[in-house]
Structures are given as structure tokens and as C-alpha cells.
Amino acid sequence: MPAPDAAKPSEAELEDYAAAANAWFKENTPQDPGFLLPLTFMEVSTDQQYTFLCDWQRKVYEAGYLGASWPQEYGGGGLHPDYQRAATRAMKDHDAPIMINAIGIGWAGPLLLDIGSEEQKHKYIRGMLSADDIWCQGFSEPEHGSDLGNAQLKAVRDGNEYILNGSKIWTSLGDRAKYMILLARTSNNPGDSKYAGLSFFLNPMNIPGIETRRIKKLTGEYGFVQCFFTDARIPAEGLMGNEGDGWKIAMKTLEYERGAKVNLAGGYFLKELDVMGIVDLARKSERGGKPVLEDPVMRDRLVEYMIDIQAQNLNNYRRRMPPLVQDRPMGLPLMSKLARTEMIRELTEFSLQFQGAKSGYYVGDDNAIDDGLWHRSYLNSFSATIGGGTSQVQKNIVAEHVLGLPKGR
């Protein structure tokens, strides 16, 4: 694992480092650039945004606050993870822009450091950190939204190449990325489970036979593409593990995303909606000529959300307190995506009621409250209630894995 020999810092050492990091982000965190800064790496819509975020990541990396705890020989800082955690905290505390190369430093990087060859590590890691090499992810396919294991994109071995045919969708930065981590089907034997024939590739994007089409989101903005593979030839050394290991490896990368390892690279890729911001919205909004916070009906519902938000914050602490989750330890972790994403959808929808006639305005109008943040957030909230397993699928997961209810046939 990265920087294995790195020594755990003393309190004092860590404090000094944190102080320096805070000073640096205080000094260098860019002011409002005058155009909308994406809250997540999935919302990069314009060249302006793209260039800005790549520059920012590079700057952070060069300052030593990204990849600080990745091995020095591949381009990291070789420090103990505690240092990077301090740096990442400083980023957040200064509300710095996100790290754009999420798939690279959050998914592909940890994977390479785990099971990649020396050569691969030397080839890819540094460019991930410097944002010279942007990565994207090719798991989902148009026909099998919720059903990853059913991926059908074909990879056929031909000498020291694979020939790819098929399509991937919901690929963030797919039109700008240099590499993709790709889940493809290398065999399709009747008897086998659908997972058996899947293989995992590091796939170069700038080659003949790969075309991308931008997807316009329901918000009217961009951020995802669909990728079309037509007899695209990629070098066989891009195969990770062996043919058929694809599903196992894909699940591994999903764990990086959730688990602890992602922190090793540092930075953060998503700014979450400040749900408590709705109280400020209610405070400054009027409906029917009255401040929303004076309308008993709105107050009542707002309190309901406060209770719900607080419950989820408490859940996040309680899940790490074994005595308080004895009966169903997996309950809180498995419900959290469902609970949080649905709450945000409802909350942002509710917030539109605060705005009276003004809720008719949308992003792009000077009269729109908070520049239309709440409308956009509501519409964007569906990416979370749909992506990564719809809420309906999430409920099945909780019902079956936590409550032990039978799978539907």
C-alpha cells in the first residue's frame, strides 16, 4: 500500500502542517470566477469550467496538498495519511473548488496502487494528480441502467489488442478524459453467470473508433456523455487482472469510492448541498407578502425536515457506535444513500414553495432567488435518487439484506 513506511506524525508536527495548509488555502483559494463553479465532478459543462478546475487541481498538487500520502516514486508526497487528511480538511474549510479528476484519484489510482504493475503505476499516477491525465468511468450501459452486471460492451482479443464494440453512458468528463476504466464482456458462455464474462480495462480514449455524445441534463446543462465504441482497438496490457475478473475488480473500485482508501489521494469531488441553507432561504423569502418563517404551515414542515436532517446526521455518528447498533449493524450504512438522497429531493422541492411567484424564475435570471440554486438542486437531486441504484432498488437492498425479506421473483 501507498507510503507504507511513512511515519505517523506527532500532534505538533500535524498541527504545523495543518496550519501551513490552512494558510495556503486561505491565500490561494480562488474567488468567484464570475461563472458557475460545478459542485460535483459530474457537472462540468463548459470549457471554462473544465480548464479552471484542471488548473486548480494542478496548483493544489504542486503545492503538495494532493496525493501527499501517495508513494513518492510515482509522484505522491510519501507522507503519512494523516497529513493528507489535514490538507483535505483545509480544502473543505476554505470551501475550495472540487478536485476534478475524481475517477483518476478516487477510483483508478487506488486500484493501480493496489493491483497495478510497477510500469502502470509509473505511467499513470503522476498524471492523475497533476490533472494532466483526466480519467473517466465506463460501467453503465444504455440498456441496463440499474443492472451493471449485465454490461454487454464486447471486448474481443486479437493478438496483443482487444477490439471493442458497444456503448457506455453516464460517463462524466467522457468527452475530455484521456483514459477510462472500462467494464467489458470478454466471454458470453450460455451456462455462465452474467458476471463471469466481465473483464476490466484501462482504456485510452483518444483512439479511432471511440466517439462521444454529450448528454443534456434535465436542468438544461451538461456533464455526462455517451461513448460509442466501434471496432476500437486498445492494447491488451490495459487488461487488469485476468479475463473474467471484471466484476470483482469493479466492485473493488466501488469500495474505494465509499471506503477509506479514497482519502489517500485526498481532495473532494462533490460539494453537498448545504441542507441547513434552507433555513436562511426561509428567513429571507416571502410568500403572500409574509416571511416564510412566520407562516405556521411552512414552519411546521420546515421543522419536519430539520428533524429528518438531524436524524441522518445522528445516524452517521451512531453507525460507528457498535453498542447502539447491535440488532442490525448494517441497517444504518445501507439506508443512508436512500434516506439522504430522497430527503434532498423532497427538501429542494419543498423549498420552491418559499418563493411565491418568484419560483417561476430559473437559473439565468437576475430575479431568481440564489441564482436558481434551489430549482437546479431539485432537478439535479434525481441524479442521486436514480444514479448508483435507484431508490427503489435501494429499498430492496435494505429490505433483503437488513430485514431479511425474500427477493421478489
Binding site: 453503465s140 444504455p142 441496463h144 441502467g145 440499474s146 443492472d147 453512458i169 453516464w170 448528454i215 443534456k216 441534463k217 434535465l218 436542468t219 438544461g220 416571502e286 410568500r287 403572500g288 407578502g289 404551515v297 411552512m298 429531493r345 422541492e349 420552491l352 414553495q353 418563493q355 411565491g356 411567484a357 418568484k358 419560483s359 417561476g360 424564475y361 430559473y362 437559473v363 439565468g364 435570471d365 430575479n367 431568481a368 436558481g372 430549482h375 432537478l379 434525481f382 441524479s383 435518487t385 436514480i386 444514479g387 435507484t390 431508490s391 427503489q392 429499498k395 430492496n396 421478489g408
Partner: protein, 373 residues
């Protein structure tokens, strides 16, 4: 409670329902509705002409002013089909603005304007202001007397289709009372208008600066008539919005059902999953309830007391049904639902827009509480 709306229908209503069903389906296929989003004007002027030729703008205008002498009840089924097919245009704005004159106009104002409007001239309303207050009395715009003219001041928002209108009915304060001013579009230069970015991309709306516009004294409605006209217009707008929303709700449910019947996941038609099957059924049940309210509001609209309760109930029910149905439509379309290409967002945005104008469900419930209890 004997002040609740009743339900019924007229032959004309049923005939117009049939005609409008075919007309809107033929004139506004979804790809055309989408193409018009990119169009600056936002609607098809030829279709507007056909609508005028069909006499649909004359329906609720008295016969002595070249109208058909029917009522808004007969306009409702047309508006419903326009909402169902997202047939873009100033039909709602024009019809409601026309009602301001029908309800509050002087003899001169009526004979000046109604025949033109019946023939297809576009009128619109300029009522909303920066406060976003749905209480139409809470405005800052004002009129100041200068000789036998009045000069207007203030900024109006959500003046729909203002650029194409020949008549803009604006609310202003004079001596503490709200008055309706009939402004000829010709007398204003385009600089007074700024196109607004609104949540419903299939509609057109403008911010309008009144400052400096002058109108003759006889273009101002009497105070008492302005009062009753304003109240009438408020309810008329909610009635027609309800119709548009019911049409949209039906459409978004049908659109989603189509997907649930064809899309397969995990080897099943997704419509088999009760997690999708039952909520869409809930949406349908809510839709039928809203539609019953719509017919009741149309039928009882002119009925003292009953009309207001029935209309507010209808708008509240339609808002609830439309918002829920369109929200679930996005969710149930999965990844595709998250794209602009999926029609679900068109309806969700339309629901948001209609909730934002003339009051949402909670607003009307608050009004109803005072009317019912």
C-alpha cells in the same frame, strides 16, 4: 357544506372537447413543441391564427362584442388539451386578460377592445411584482395624474407574451386603490421589456418597466370595477391553469405508462414492479380527483361563492396531482429521466410554473380555510 361546487357539463363543452382533442394533437406533436423551445417567439403564429379563426378567443366574450356569449366553462376543455399537448402560445394570457375587460371594462373599453380580442389580437396581464406576492393588491406600481393623462411607474414581472401583445392590462395604485390600466403595446418601445428566464421553457415571459408610460384617463378602469375585475381575473387564471395542469398530468402519466410497459430491467417489464406500478396508480387516482374538481370549477365558476371555493380546490388538487405525477415520471424513467431529452422534465417544469403563478396548493388551501370554516 352547501357552498361546495357541483358538477355538470354543456353540449358546447363536449363538442369543444372533441374538436380541441384532435386539433391540439395534430398541431402540437411533441417534437414541434420542443422545436418551439428554441424559437424566440416560442409559438407558431399560424396555429394562433387558426385558433382565432376557430373562434376560441371569442368564446367567453358577450355576443354584442362579436363574442360567442358562452362562458369560461367552455374554454376549459380547450385549455386542458393545450396543456396535454404542450401547445405553446398566449391562449391563457389572452383569454384571462380579455376577461379583465369583460368583467371591469367601461362600455367604451369593451367596444374598443373586445371585438379585436375576439378576432385574435393578443392581450396579456401585468400584475406581479418583485415581492412575488400572490395577493394582487400588494403592489408598488402607481399611476400619477397629469392633466387628463396618467403617467405610470413601477416594474412588472411575468408579463407573458408581452412582446406580441397589442394590449397589456397592468395593475397600478392610484389614491391607495388598485386600478387596472389598459396599455396599448404600440405606445411602448421594446426597451421596456426584458425576456425572463423562467422554469417552463415552452412559455415566454417578460419583465416590464412601466416608468414613463402615459395613458389617457379613459384607459384607466374605475376603482370599484378594477376591484371586481381583479378578483375575477385571479380566479379565471386559476381555473384555466387547472385545466392546463390536468391536461399535463394526464399526458405525463400516459407517457410514463408507455415506458413502464416497454422498458425491461432484471429480465422483467418494469411495470410489473409494484414499486413503480402503485405510485403511478396513486398519481392516476390523484389526477382523476383533480379532473373532477376541474369540471366542478368550470361548472360552478359563475356561481356566487361556490365558484371561488370550487376553483381554489381545483387549483390545489391539480397542483398536488401534477407535481407528484411529473416528479415520479422523472424518477421512473431512470437514467433517461435525468436527460433533457425525456419529456418528463417538460411536464415537471410546467407544473412548477403553474404553481408559481396565481398561487400554489398551500396558498389556496389557506384561502379555502377562511372560506370553509
Amino acid at each position: 357544506m352547501d357552498n361546495l361546487g357541483t358538477i355538470g357539463f354543456t353540449e358546447e363543452q363536449v363538442e369543444l372537447m372533441d374538436v380541441a382533442t384532435n386539433f391540439c394533437r395534430d398541431k402540437s406533436p411533441i417534437d414541434k413543441a420542443r422545436a418551439l423551445i428554441e424559437d424566440d417567439r416560442g409559438y407558431d403564429a399560424d396555429v394562433w391564427r387558426e385558433i382565432a379563426d376557430l373562434g376560441w378567443l371569442a368564446i367567453a366574450i358577450p355576443e354584442e362584442y362579436d363574442g360567442l356569449g358562452l362562458s369560461l366553462a367552455e374554454v376549459v376543455p380547450i385549455m386542458e388539451q393545450m396543456g396535454r399537448r404542450i401547445l405553446a402560445g398566449p391562449f391563457l394570457s389572452a383569454t384571462v386578460a380579455t376577461q379583465a375587460i369583460v368583467a371591469g371594462g367601461s362600455e367604451a373599453q369593451k367596444s374598443d377592445w373586445l371585438p379585436k380580442l375576439a378576432a385574435g389580437s393578443i392581450a396579456t396581464l401585468a400584475l406581479a411584482e418583485a415581492s412575488g406576492d400572490w395577493n394582487l393588491h400588494n403592489i408598488d406600481a402607481k399611476a400619477e395624474n397629469s392633466g387628463n393623462e396618467y403617467t405610470l411607474y413601477g416594474i412588472k414581472q411575468f408579463v407573458t407574451y408581452a412582446r406580441d401583445a397589442e394590449l397589456i392590462v397592468a395593475s397600478v395604485k392610484l389614491d391607495g386603490a388598485v386600478r387596472l390600466a389598459l396599455i396599448e403595446r404600440g405606445a411602448i418601445d421594446d426597451g421596456a421589456f426584458r425576456r425572463e428566464a423562467i422554469i417552463d421553457e415552452t412559455k415566454r415571459s417578460f419583465e416590464m418597466v412601466l416608468d414613463g408610460i402615459t395613458i389617457s384617463a379613459d384607459a384607466l378602469m374605475d376603482a370599484d370595477k378594477s376591484e371586481s375585475a381583479l378578483a375575477h381575473v385571479d380566479l379565471a387564471a386559476n381555473l384555466l391553469q387547472t385545466a392546463e395542469m390536468c391536461g399535463g398530468t394526464q399526458a405525463v402519466i400516459d407517457y410514463t405508462l408507455e415506458y413502464l410497459k416497454t422498458r425491461k430491467q432484471f429480465g422483467k417489464t418494469i411495470g410489473e414492479y409494484q414499486a413503480l406500478k402503485h405510485p403511478i396508480t396513486d398519481a392516476y387516482v390523484a389526477y382523476e380527483k383533480a379532473r373532477s374538481h376541474m369540471f366542478s370549477a368550470a361548472h360552478s365558476f359563475a356561481d356566487q361563492g361556490r365558484g371561488e371555493i370550487a376553483t381554489r380546490m381545483a387549483k390545489a388538487a391539480a397542483d398536488k396531482a401534477y407535481s407528484f405525477a411529473a416528479d415520479r415520471a422523472i424518477q421512473f424513467h431512470g437514467g433517461f429521466g435525468f436527460t433533457h431529452e425525456c419529456d418528463a422534465q417538460l411536464f415537471r417544469r410546467s407544473a412548477m410554473w403553474n404553481a408559481s403563478q396565481f398561487g400554489d396548493a398551500a396558498w389556496h388551501r389557506a384561502k379555502l380555510a377562511n372560506l370553509l370554516f
